[in-house]
């Protein structure tokens, strides 16, 4: 509430659009992949179990917030609420630099000793997530690893689209054009994921849907990787049958416009 006043007094410079979008994606999509990591990876699940019941709140000054909660070896992420333990970042830029691998120390708040163990274990999870999102050479040769890499990367990309709708000026302008409906992505021999669009609000999730508005079937894992990395021409792939879209093509056409933009912010 004081941010506009501080800005007017020249005591604060609002984040750039790019920093704001990236910060949202880092918290909501990258950190948001941890619940899926815990679901998919036993090593991560074991760490989550060690963390017990705790809610970690991430708060960025003049930026996004998120609460990553653990309970009984499962994890959830929400964009609202409060945690038992808080980590404060003085700017979007600081948060982004940390996600880019720089040493940035957030300011803890509401940190009771009881929950410090959870904080200490968090890097184990984020390191494990990094392995899946930025796999070391050779790891993708393992089909099981590849499947998890594809699923997590797909989910990160899909979750990140929500921050585009909220903060990317070009997308904000067209958010009202987004048709409402559901899109299911299925990789043949691999994972499924879906996205629900309801009047411009996007929710991404793992797994399939019984009756999606649009089904996007991707021929194989390699093509899915290309799609995630932005190296696939979706129109060409569609025409050649590598990607099959059926159902509401207007919906998936608009959604791909967003999905393609995620790569401008997240690498």
């Amino acid at each position: 509430m004081f941010t506009p006043l501080l800005t007017r007094l020249g005591l604060h410079t609002p984040p750039s659009v790019r920093d704001r979008v990236r910060a949202g994606m880092h918290l909501h999509a990258v950190l948001g992949a941890i619940p899926h990591l815990v679901r998919l990876d036993e090593e991560a699940a074991a760490t989550a179990r060690q963390m017990g019941k705790v809610a970690l709140e991430f708060r960025v000054f003049d930026g996004p917030r998120a609460v990553l909660a653990f309970d009984g070896g499962k994890a959830t992420l929400s964009r609202e609420g409060c945690g038992n333990v808080g980590l404060f970042f003085p700017s979007c830029d600081a948060l982004n630099r940390m996600f880019d691998g720089e040493k940035v120390t957030p300011i803890p708040f509401r940190a009771f000793p009881l929950h410090l163990k959870a904080l200490q274990l968090l890097p184990k999870l984020t390191d494990r997530l990094t392995v899946f999102l930025k796999p070391p050479a050779g790891m993708l040769d393992d089909p099981a690893f590849l499947a998890r890499h594809v699923e997590l990367s797909l989910l990160v990309g899909m979750m990140a689209t929500r921050d585009l709708v909220d903060y990317d000026p070009k997308v904000v302008r067209i958010a009202h054009d987004l048709p409402s409906g559901t899109v299911m992505f299925e990789v043949i021999g691999g994972p499924k994921a879906h996205v629900k669009i309801d009047h411009g609000v996007i929710e991404a999730g793992a797994g399939g849907l019984a009756d999606p508005s649009t089904t996007v079937t991707i021929k194989n894992m390699g093509l899915a990787l290309g799609l995630i990395q932005g190296t696939v021409d979706t129109f060409a792939a569609n025409g050649s049958g590598d990607i099959r879209a059926s159902g509401s093509l207007a919906l998936v056409d608009e959604y791909f416009n967003l999905f393609d933009r995620v790569g401008l912010y997240l690498k």
Binding site: K170, V171, I174, F235, N238, G239, S240, S246, G247, R261
Partner: protein, 412 residues
């Protein structure tokens, strides 16, 4: 019957993806039809039929997305074009055909005092918008949500290569809701240059919606009240409803009108037309392109409009369209399926009433293409003058087979 295969289309497409972005750009990309069950390329046409590289023959209801109003290779239009072709085409200057064509359009279309020629619909809708802005010295243009007015950046299709300011001053209203139009005028007092509309609402991926009684006249009243231009984008429907333009068919008075598709039976030409009030502003807008004055297309247009002016031309097309619309409705009902037939008879479209995601339409359209009839699942269709009752009947026979496919796959 043996279902069509598309091996050569696919082979060409694979080659194309190496040297052409997306293989085929824009709305003609297979992604917008039924990939795998639709032809990707054409090699020749005759009347209402064309053939793809695999030798498959189609009764066509897409008409090149509209320009083929009479039929492929129409002898009258082609003969007129050939005469001019022998004389030459892309000169340093316009030819007398430009003046003759302008005079013909001005004489034919009520309200219109001038016209200027481009190549595509986008050329002339953009020109009309610029003219409205020049005349009013205002910025904002209102269009119906979902309406298509061309591929230029102000129309925003996708996000590629577009910046926010390209469409910052283009605002959407709700079709058939005059209040939503006037609300925008009130929100931006003194800043609305004009309203651009199609004569009826024909967005892709949706049923077509005719104007409610009084809606178009209300737009005229609002534009008069706020001294803004009313632009009719008649690119798709022009001369298919009324040879005097669709504003005559719907009885309203635009300030400027845009034509393209039916002007020359496939020869690349478009026209922006307007009233004298807007002529000074039109003169100030720099409107040109290397081929804007090419004479072959203008000669073709003169001949095409002469054919369209014959009352029996449009009445035949209306009759064929009505036969198709009624026949599809009955065939669907006989199979226990519910379909929505929308649009005027010459620009019909069909969707399945109990779905919004077009899955049934895709099975239907893909099935029809594999049986020799091209009925696009997502885009309105076009009747050509060369469609005959026998063509429509054959189409209905194929449609019946495809309704059976839909029934089998979806149950209803």
């Amino acid at each position: 019957m043996a279902l069509y295969k598309f091996d050569k289309s696919n082979e060409l497409f694979q080659r194309a993806t190496a040297v052409i972005p997306s293989g085929i750009s824009g709305n003609k990309n297979p992604a917008f039809a039924v990939p795998g069950s639709f032809p990707y390329y054409a090699v020749r046409g005759e009347g209402c039929r064309y053939w793809d590289p695999d030798g498959n023959e189609y009764i066509d209801f897409l008409a090149g997305y509209g320009p083929i109003v009479l039929g492929y290779n129409d002898p009258v239009v082609d003969a007129a074009a050939d005469v001019q072709r022998k004389l030459g085409t892309a000169f340093n200057h316009p030819t007398p055909a430009a003046v003759e064509l302008a005079e013909k359009l001005v004489g034919m279309i009520p309200l219109i005092d001038w016209c200027a020629f481009g190549k595509n619909g986008s050329d002339v809708t953009a020109y009309a918008v610029q003219t409205a802005r020049e005349h009013t010295q205002r910025r904002k243009i209102l269009k119906a949500h979902g309406a298509y007015h061309g591929s230029q950046s102000w129309c925003r299709h996708g996000l590629g290569g577009i910046i926010e300011s390209d469409f910052e001053h283009v605002l959407d209203f709700i079709w058939n809701d005059a209040t939503s139009v006037e609300d925008i005028f009130k929100k931006y007092p003194g800043d609305v240059a004009g309203v651009i509309i199609t004569p009826y609402h024909h967005p892709a991926f949706a049923d077509q919606v005719m104007p409610k009684p009084g809606f178009l006249q209300d737009l005229r009243r609002i534009c008069d009240k706020y001294e803004a231009a009313l632009i009719l984008d008649d690119v798709r429907a022009g001369f298919r409803l009324d040879i005097k333009g669709s504003h005559e068919y719907f009885d309203f008075k635009p300030d400027m009108t845009c034509y393209c598709k039916a002007m020359a039976n496939g020869y690349a030409i478009s026209a922006a037309c307007g009233t004298n009030k807007y002529k000074p502003a039109a003169s100030k807008v720099f409107f040109t392109g290397t081929y804007y004055t090419s004479a072959v297309e203008q000669a073709a247009s003169l001949a095409c409009l002469d054919v369209l002016k014959k009352p029996e031309t449009l009445s035949h097309m209306m009759k064929m369209g009505t036969m198709l619309q009624k026949g599809l409705k009955k065939a669907a009902e006989d199979r226990g399926l519910q379909v929505t037939i929308s649009g005027p008879p010459t620009l019909p479209f069909m969707t399945f009433t109990n779905e919004t995601n077009f899955r049934r339409s895709q099975v239907f359209g893909g099935g029809a293409a594999r049986r020799g009839v091209l009925l696009h699942p997502h885009h309105n269709w076009f009747i050509m003058h060369s469609h005959t009752e026998a063509d429509i009947q054959k189409t209905l026979d194929v449609a019946d087979d495809c309704f059976a496919l839909v029934k089998k796959e979806f149950g209803g």
